[in-house]
């Protein structure tokens, strides 16, 4: 029985173990499943949280030339992938477009819809735009057309009663009261109905709204001039193009009698104080800084250049920025019609880029001893003398022989590097010869231990294996320098070689660098830099050759012994050697550095510099500011606008016409209005971005556009409908000249009583007034006093009025009393017209600088 009990125990234990193992295995698996479930739930929750963190916004919906545009912004906390954009045409069942995309937007970033899709809107239809993200976020926005539903349109006339021949303003407001918070796209007013006797002088301003957010108000403005009989009613009806039929509003203006005498004479406008404008639409950049806000650097005004030799403004660093600002409008709104704005800039370009090794720029600051530059940016006739041409940026006006000049090579505009000019060599006796006689050779004969030659070539396969000379200079003693393609062998055809051979003092050393396996008969432009270097003790010397900014070879010899390379014959670009070795192709921007060995960084800078288009890159900004210089509206901004190379260093600075040829900035802009209520000004700003140094010449009297070919730097705008404001300066040592123009339909006389000019010091230090002295109309001049009125001023006629010097107690004394300083000046005109209506007219001249 003892053994049975033991056996039972064993059996029981086995069972127990089996049961426990089985149970534990099951429980363990169940827990594992639970764990997986929990993990899945956590992942699922994480994805849900991601989805909740996802948010996007569609804004700035507009039509750019009827192309749908707008901005999608990721306003959430995680990146969003835009998968689909749907565009449904509202009210049409079958017009649906789907755009499948895969565009990521980082949090806070935006995407332009026009960059994603190309969709042309129909201005008569509305659309539902729906954006779907990769996580399933769907955002919709409705874009309505004016014809979708009636809008709240109101038309107002200000004033609603005017005398005949006066102007009034018609305002049309449109409220976007669409349902669904829809955006309205392309809101354009219909032409204002304006019957007989009504003239629309301007408007609508603006011509349209690209888009109008829900609840926003669009305001359109017209200026109308009405001519009619008293009590005549003019009806105006305003509506929107493609608006819902009948969605209009109307208003009226009634012609009334002149009740107040001071409403006549409105058309008497100031032409300003005595100053001499160049043209009514040309702002000349001046050096004067008075009467400008602190945010600007210089005046730009209508007056002619008066700055003597002017000033030169250097643009050579991204911190270089200059702002020119006009006088502020003080009389009326000034409408500048849509059209071309052109800034004609008188500048010269630095002939070399900044940052070259010390002494390298001697090539132009002291070219007579140090070097020679040929940009080939202008043509000279065959046989012309290259030293005397604009081809030569340095070493001008040197003596020469008749053998020097252009022979056979033909000049081509816009065919050179960066669209500059360049010479073409036809492979048969075409060359440019540079005289070695006299002092000329100092410019281009590399007879120092150190020298460098750079240039651009565009070579064509000559059809044989002969070498082609890009440049050569030799003499009868077999000393020579040459830059050639090939070496007369088929195996080396098209390789670039730089060879020089010294013969002085018994040495007979040939140094040669070449481009290895690279060949250049590919009709593409390539830049080379051939450098003769030397050690300080002159024992060792050698050559280095760069192609397209990269060093391709360097050679050294140890038998230099201070030997210079002094070939004495003339220098040839191309060759006159015959033997079918003349260059076939184009050559541009040849430079000789007589005493310098360029280092790698120098070569890189010269290689990347442009001596044609894009020589300078500037950001040019045109703004409307208020009277204090605070920007009200950015009219235009061009970033990195390219300005061409202005090669002027052939000339002396005193030859401004050629020294500051410069270039133009041209842009087409919509209509702009300078608002009199904010005393608006125009502001023109230039900021340096990149490129060669630009030296802008301003206010140079020698560049008057009359005696010289060019006019000092200026900004020309479309001729404004009203007179532009300008800066006035009055010398208190003389009487005050004032010009007025009678643009009224009636002629007028001015009377002594009530006609005054008032100077009010802007610092509050005092006020002064002038009495009217004489009025000249045409050739008739008349004193004006209490016994005599002015001559008759017919309509559309200018009158010159001379006021006595201003005094605190106005009188006719010629003794100056008014202190120098800045004054706000008003002119009060009193008179009557030929219909017997009297008037008193107040014209604000604006700020005037009184000088001694």
């Amino acid at each position: 029985m003892t053994s049975h009990r033991g056996l039972s125990a064993v059996v029981g234990t086995v069972f127990l173990i089996a049961v426990v193992v089985g149970a534990l295995s099951y429980v363990s698996y169940s827990l594992n499943i639970m764990g997986n479930f929990s993990e899945s739930m956590i992942v699922s929750e994480s994805r849900e949280k991601d989805k909740q963190s996802e948010a996007l916004e569609i804004s700035s919906i507009r039509s750019t030339g009827m192309e749908l545009d707008g901005v999608i912004k990721n306003t959430g906390e995680i990146p969003i992938e835009i998968k689909t954009i749907w565009i449904d045409e509202q009210g049409s069942n079958d017009v649906v477009q789907k755009f499948t995309l895969s565009e990521e937007i980082a949090p806070g970033n935006t995407l332009n819809i026009a960059d994603l899709i190309d969709f042309t809107m129909d201005e008569t239809k509305g659309y539902n735009l729906k954006v779907v993200s990769g996580r399933g976020e769907v955002k919709s926005i409705y874009v309505n057309s004016a014809n979708q539903e009636k809008l709240d349109i109101q038309l107002m006339a200000i004033p609603d009663h005017i005398p005949t021949d006066f102007v009034a303003t018609i305002l049309m407001t449109v409220v976007n009261n669409s349902t669904n918070n829809n955006i309205l796209a392309n809101l354009t007013p219909s032409a204002l109905t304006c019957g007989s006797g009504c003239t629309i002088e301007s408007g609508p301003i603006p011509t349209s709204y690209d888009s109008l957010e829900s609840g926003d108000i669009a305001i359109f403005r017209w200026t109308v001039k009405l001519s009619g009989n008293v009590d005549q009613i003019f009806d105006f009806t305003g509506s929107l193009q493609n608006g819902v039929n009948g969605n209009t509003d109307s208003t009226t203006i009634v012609i009334s009698e002149v009740i107040e005498s001071n409403t006549a004479g409105e058309a008497l406008n100031a032409l300003g104080l005595g100053f001499d404008p160049f043209a009514p639409d040309v702002f000349i950049f001046h050096t004067e800084t008075n009467l400008i806000p602190a945010s600007a650097n210089y005046q730009m005004s209508l007056s002619k250049p008066d700055g003597g030799d002017g000033a030169v403004l250097s643009f050579n660093d991204v911190s270089d920025s200059y702002t020119f600002i006009s006088a502020n409008s003080t009389v009326e709104d000034i409408v500048i019609p849509a059209g071309i704005w052109d800034a004609s800039l008188r500048y010269s370009s630095a002939p070399l880029p900044e940052g070259l090794s010390s002494g390298i720029d001697d090539i132009w600051t002291d070219g007579f001893d140090a070097g020679h530059i040929f940009h080939f940016n202008e043509n000279i006739s065959a046989g012309g003398e290259v030293e005397d041409s604009v081809q030569d940026s340095t070493c001008y006006n040197l003596s020469h022989t008749d053998l020097a000049g252009i022979f056979g090579a033909s000049w081509h505009v816009g065919q050179g590097v960066n669209n500059s000019g360049a010479y073409y060599f036809d492979g048969s006796n075409d060359y440019i010869r540079i005289d070695d006689s006299g002092a000329d050779n100092k410019c281009n004969r590399p007879d120092e231990q150190l020298f460098s030659i750079t240039g651009w070539f565009n070579a064509t396969d000559p059809g044989n294996d002969n070498m082609m000379y890009i440049m050569e200079k030799d003499d009868s003693s077999n000393a020579y320098i040459e830059i050639v393609l090939g070496d007369d062998s088929a195996s080396n055809k098209g390789k670039l070689y730089f060879n020089f051979h010294t013969t002085a003092s018994g040495s007979d050393d040939l140094v040669s660098c070449n481009s290895g396996t690279d060949t250049y008969l590919d009709r593409e432009w390539h830049h080379f830099a051939a450098i003769r270097w030397d050690t300080s003790d002159n024992d060792d010397c050698g050559c280095r050759l760069y192609v397209d900014g990269v060093e391709v070879d360097e050679q050294e010899i140890t038998t230099c012994d201070s030997q210079r390379v002094k070939p004495s014959n003339d220098l040839f670009i191309g060759s006159d050697s015959g033997a079918s070795r003349e260059f076939l192709g184009m050559i541009d921007d040849f430079m000789f550095f007589v005493k310098d060995d360029l280092i790698s960084s120098d070569v890189d800078k010269i290689y990347h510099a442009s001596f044609g288009d894009n020589a300078h890159k500037m950001t040019i900004t045109i703004d409307e500011t208020d009277g204090e210089g605070n920007i009200l509206d950015n009219i235009s901004t061009d970033v990195s606008y390219p300005l061409p190379f202005s090669d002027s260093f052939h000339y002396s600075v005193s030859d401004e016409n050629n020294y500051y040829v410069g270039g133009n900035y041209t842009i087409s802009l919509p209509q702009t209005t300078l608002d009199v209520l904010t005393n608006s000004r125009l502001q023109f700003t230039m900021d340096y971005d990149d490129g060669l140094e630009l030296n802008l010449n301003i206010d140079d009297e020698a560049l008057d556009g009359v005696g010289s070919n060019l006019l000092s730097s200026f900004l020309q705008i479309p001729e404004p409908l009203e007179d532009l404001p300008t800066y006035y300066v009055y010398s208190r040592a003389s009487d005050v000249d004032f010009f007025a123009f009678n643009g009224d339909v009636s002629g007028a006389w001015l009377t002594y009583q009530g006609t005054r000019m008032v100077f009010n010091a802007t610092d509050g230090s005092g006020a002064y007034a002038s009495l009217l002295d004489t009025v000249t109309v045409g050739t008739e001049t008349s004193d004006v006093d209490y016994n005599q009125d002015s001559p008759y001023i017919p309509k559309n006629t200018q009158a010159t009025m001379i006021f006595h010097r201003p005094h605190s107690s106005p009188n006719e004394s010629d003794t100056p009393e008014i202190p120098t300083g800045v004054y706000n000046v008003n002119v009060f005109l009193s008179g009557y017209n030929n219909e017997g209506v009297t008037f008193v007219r107040n014209i604000n001249i604006g700020h005037v600088l009184v000088i001694s």
């Binding site: 698996y29 689909t84 069942n93 789907k98 779907v132 990769g134 399933g136």
Partner: protein
Amino acid sequence: MLRNKKTNLSSYAAGRYRRGLASIVTSGIILSAVSIMGVMLLGWSQTSISEQKQEMNDVYNTQMNKINEKLVYENIWFALPAGLMTANHLNVTVANIGILGLNVTTIQITNTTGTNNTSFSYHYTNGGVVTGDALSFNATYPWQSTDELDVRIFTSRGNQFFSTVIAP
């Protein structure tokens, strides 16, 4: 007597030997039986647990896949008869934003406008859509302008996705 004694002794000894053998045999039989039963029990229990594990795994995967199935309505637009579609119809585009591919089996469209509660179900055999992709269906339905329609999509895993639209 001595013989008898021997005999008696012998008999006694033989009886004792039989009882010992029987005990060993019995123990062996019991041990064998117990071992066999134990092995059978273990085998049965392991098989049973494996089956339950597999069943549990299947249920778990099925439910998790169902939970992870996500569909979003990208767009539903109404179309007039055109091409092969000879009656008014709806175009329903859905995107699979879940982590699994899914299979749309049915689109049910129910008109909930007023008393008109007609319902149409359309069955699809090619409604597979991989994750991140979208699928468009045309469903014929005699919709009228301003009809309010419930659109319900059923998937092969038994999920339903619902949206409401109003005909233009």
